[in-house]
Symmetry: C2
């Protein structure tokens, strides 16, 4: 079939769908392209919604990246808002569409169909879940309703259910509006893409901003309060009162349309696609939050709802539909979240996943400044790097701090994409001037520590293994630091006098060495090793110990 | 020779020398390690000196990363300050050292000698160059003298000679102290690692901060003013009065010691070393600003004084001396400079160099926001990406803007290191939340534009070729934008009505299309190509035109 007759129908007009449509037009001037969008808006900035609720973005129009008119003028694409695709007739290659403006139901033929309906917020089936004042956040009308509710009900107290990206962003934005927030997270940590010990700074930041944080507790019911508002009861027996409840529990792929059409659905409930974004029906493609994607590192098929990959998937689908040999390379899970001036970002796989899969891995913790310490206002970044113990290949990284965090994760994400190793990070030549970085950038340092461990120069142990220690725990910080707080049972010999006092260290024992962040312990470990001791550096030092202990 | 007897002498104790010494100790507890430092400080933050002059760094002690005592305690390294190595006796494997504190001259034997004397600021042999008030900036005492001069002479006017990193940083810092600055640059642009058109925003920023900028003009003499201060006369005949002159003309490797010892010196005047940082004498190594390094992209041997590579070279030299198989991979030239809130950063090779070498290359210009436009305070970044037209391999990148600049260069630097292509940049999965980036990050966009050009989907032309145009220059911006300013001779058909008015475009002619930054022109180029026209996108749009025109 030539492009001239080609008719491309797209279900859903936000990230993946809109990208697919625009790309398709760039590949064919003659194809007929129609987007069916159930909602009232096409191509809106869904990642901006929490900031619109928070009044950081004050003008709703800013959220409209494009509108139907612009799609028509710029791309000759027919966007049909409030038109819902009810079902797919695969035998006739038709969709049944309901126009919610007129009530009319009609059919449209397709040569190629792209499903991009996204994912919808999970609304757990709990008593009282439909009470007024309980909102999820997915669309512009959702955010508008929350804004109106806040203003009309003069909201002063809110409960946010779920400590993921949306939950944290909503918490920040509600606090920004002067609302007291209780954050309930059923798991034992916020931000599940991170390992738990890396979330300690997030918890601290939430608490220091007055948020009431409840981990490992979940809602059992919502009830109306006699004097107005909602009573949120939890599993632990706590009762939280609120004028507003935000559900940020996660999303579920909108795969019903595909399922009803008999398309293959994956184990996680998303539409199953191949690397061409093609479903089990070769005439139907699917992109965005509705599909299962392959994890770039582990090769598992997962649900990873992210805007960047959704856009890329849309372009790949359009390419393939118009005869090009594009493929989607999977998702690294690179993501970032801002919370009260703290930035948390990650890429690749986390330790929990590696443990679940039973993979061998190495890890390092470090806490370098975001730029040199001699320039004012250096802020520490907590970094965790995961790598293959065989060849040093990067598996994943997590970072938390006040500045320069996403830069380091982006650099590591690029390295991971290229199959780079910790030895490459060690060698990376990155920007350095006093206000921007360091001659040894945090990325270099992460690579160096890992490389030193892999080469056997500075073997690492981890605080999580502390109970396995059968030997000496050596704190090489200065006496004043040691006295201000140390790990129970540790012996203190400062690095500055270590060589003079080496005779105090028992031979033929394992020595686990720590300092504040790991650097002095590295020097000490080297000195001990070269003097015949069996020494190990406790990665990340006392600072990581404190995070792990709280964990 | 076993480590036990090894005696490592190091000449120079700042970046490369200090790194080498510390690394050596981590490889051998028994080696004797001595650093001879002519100056009064070891391991100080030379990159911070302009900010100490500017009082951004207020405490001189902050600049001291380590001192001799710390080197002794922490690393058992003997640092001899104010001890100058006068000559090398290679036959006897000895250095002759003068202790400037005592006047004594003595010899020390070495098993391995590392030269890390750095580079010294160029003081051109001009009339009046030795007048009081004319300073270069290399050491802590230099910066202290400048600070004292500013205070004692109540400096209100300064001339900075040279518009490189030090010249710009000094300009900013003097202005920060309320001093009026005239910046003289002999070349036709500031910041020579950049291509000239990319420096337009720097010029604009200098001018908007009250700096008097003179490009293509150089000093011919300095004279004393009868009422105090210095009169700076230039080639163009201008006369500038100043209370203070800062020389930021560049540095020259301190290779005299090596030359006198008969070591091989490269064409650029730096010590010649191999990838093991070994000089022509296998018992002598050299690291840091004194050596010529191989450009990672072009493989040319150049002088590229940078702190990060100096540190890496120091570690490589120590590794090799202690029997390890480390190599130095060359220098990408990744660098960054802050100037009045503007960040300028680059990595890899620039277009001037590619032209000089006669290499084939492709390039793109773009001006994306540092984060999504719908979130407040998005700042544009001007980006130029250079790549191989054969396989898309990244050759270099330059970026200028107010925020997020060094992040994009760091990501591209990592990609370049890994031999990645523009197709990899297109696919990069980077951090996106509204305040941090975009679903299509600037790095992705640079990759996409280049990849689209390489695939033939959206061929590019450049404003520098405008005089070659034999056809139609088409401006696809809206009428109001066109009327507010456009390129002479351009025809205006907005993208929004292009399909309706395509008949107005003459067939069988070349059509060069532009818009404001290149995106709408891309859409228009695709539409024209698919409709049979021979269309090209003018990379970077009207914004790049304005920079090139001013160039």
């Amino acid at each position: 079939m030539s492009d001239r007759q080609k008719r491309l129908l797209i279900v859903g007009g936000v990230a993946g769908g809109a990208s697919c449509a625009a790309r398709a037009r760039r590949l064919s001037e003659t194809a007929e392209i129609i987007i069916f969008e159930r909602g009232s808006f096409v191509s809106f900035a869904n990642c901006g919604l929490p900031y619109y609720v928070g009044d950081v973005i004050t003008d709703e129009k800013k959220l409209l990246i494009a509108n139907a008119n612009l799609f028509k003028q710029r791309f000759n694409i027919d966007v049909r808002l409030e038109n819902e695709v009810l079902s797919i007739n695969r035998e006739k290659s038709e969709v049944n569409v309901k126009n919610h403006q007129t009530g009319e139901v009609y059919q449209e033929y397709y040569d190629a169909l792209v499903l991009a309906p996204g994912a919808s917020p999970i609304r757990p089936n709990l008593p009282g879940i439909d009470l007024p004042g309980i909102f999820a956040l997915r669309t512009i009308p959702d955010s508008r309703r929350i804004r109106e509710w806040i203003e009309e009900h003069k909201v002063t107290k809110a409960v946010v259910v779920g400590g993921g990206f949306i939950g944290l962003e909503m918490t920040e934005n509600l606090v920004h509006r002067g609302i007291s927030v209780t954050l309930l997270e059923a798991q034992s940590q916020v931000m599940l893409p991170f390992d738990r010990e890396m979330t300690t700074p997030i918890n601290n930041s939430l608490l220091s901003h007055g948020v009431i944080l409840r981990l490992g507790d979940s809602v059992v019911s919502f009830e109306s309060h006699s004097e107005g508002g909602i009573v949120v009861k939890t599993k632990s027996g706590e009762v939280h009162q609120a004028d507003l409840v935000i559900l940020g529990i996660g999303v579920r792929p909108e795969s019903t349309l595909a399922k009803d059409a008999g398309l293959e659905i994956g184990d996680k409930g998303g539409i199953k696609v191949n690397e061409k974004m093609q479903t089990s029906d070769p005439q139907i493609w699917a992109v965005g939050d509705v599909v299962e994607v392959q994890d770039f590192v582990t090769k598992e098929w997962l649900l990873i709802p992210l805007a960047g990959p959704a856009n890329r998937q849309g372009r790949v689908a359009a390419d393939v539909i118009f005869g090009r040999d594009s493929t989607f390379r999977g998702v690294q899970g690179t993501s970032v979240c801002g919370i009260f001036g703290l930035t948390v970002a990650c890429t690749g796989v986390n330790e929990k996943t590696l443990q679940r899969l039973g993979w061998e891995y190495g890890k390092v913790y470090l806490h370098p400044g975001h730029h040199v310490g001699y320039y004012p206002n250096a802020k520490p970044i907590d970094i965790k790097l995961l790598f293959s113990p065989e060849d040093g290949r990067i598996l994943g990284a997590q970072a938390v701090g006040e500045a320069g965090v996403e830069k380091r994760i982006d650099v590591i994400a690029m390295a991971l994409q290229n199959g780079a190793t910790v030895f490459d990070l060690e060698e990376a030549e990155l920007c350095y001037a006093p206000q921007f970085g360091a001659a040894k950038d945090p990325v270099n340092m992460a690579g160096m520590i890992a490389a030193n461990a892999l080469r056997g120069d500075a073997p690492l142990v981890h605080w999580q293994q502390l109970n396995e220690l059968d030997g000496v725990l050596l704190d090489v910080r200065e006496v004043g630091e040691f006295e201000a707080g140390h790990v129970e049972g540790a012996k203190n010999i400062p690095l500055s006098v270590l060589r003079d006092r080496m005779s105090e260290i028992p031979p033929n024992q394992t020595i686990w060495v720590y300092c504040q962040v790991g650097q002095r312990a590295y020097y000490a470990t080297r000195a001990l090793l070269l003097n015949g001791f069996d020494a190990r550096n406790l990665s990340g030092g006392f600072k990581t110990y404190q995070a792990v202990k709280k964990d």
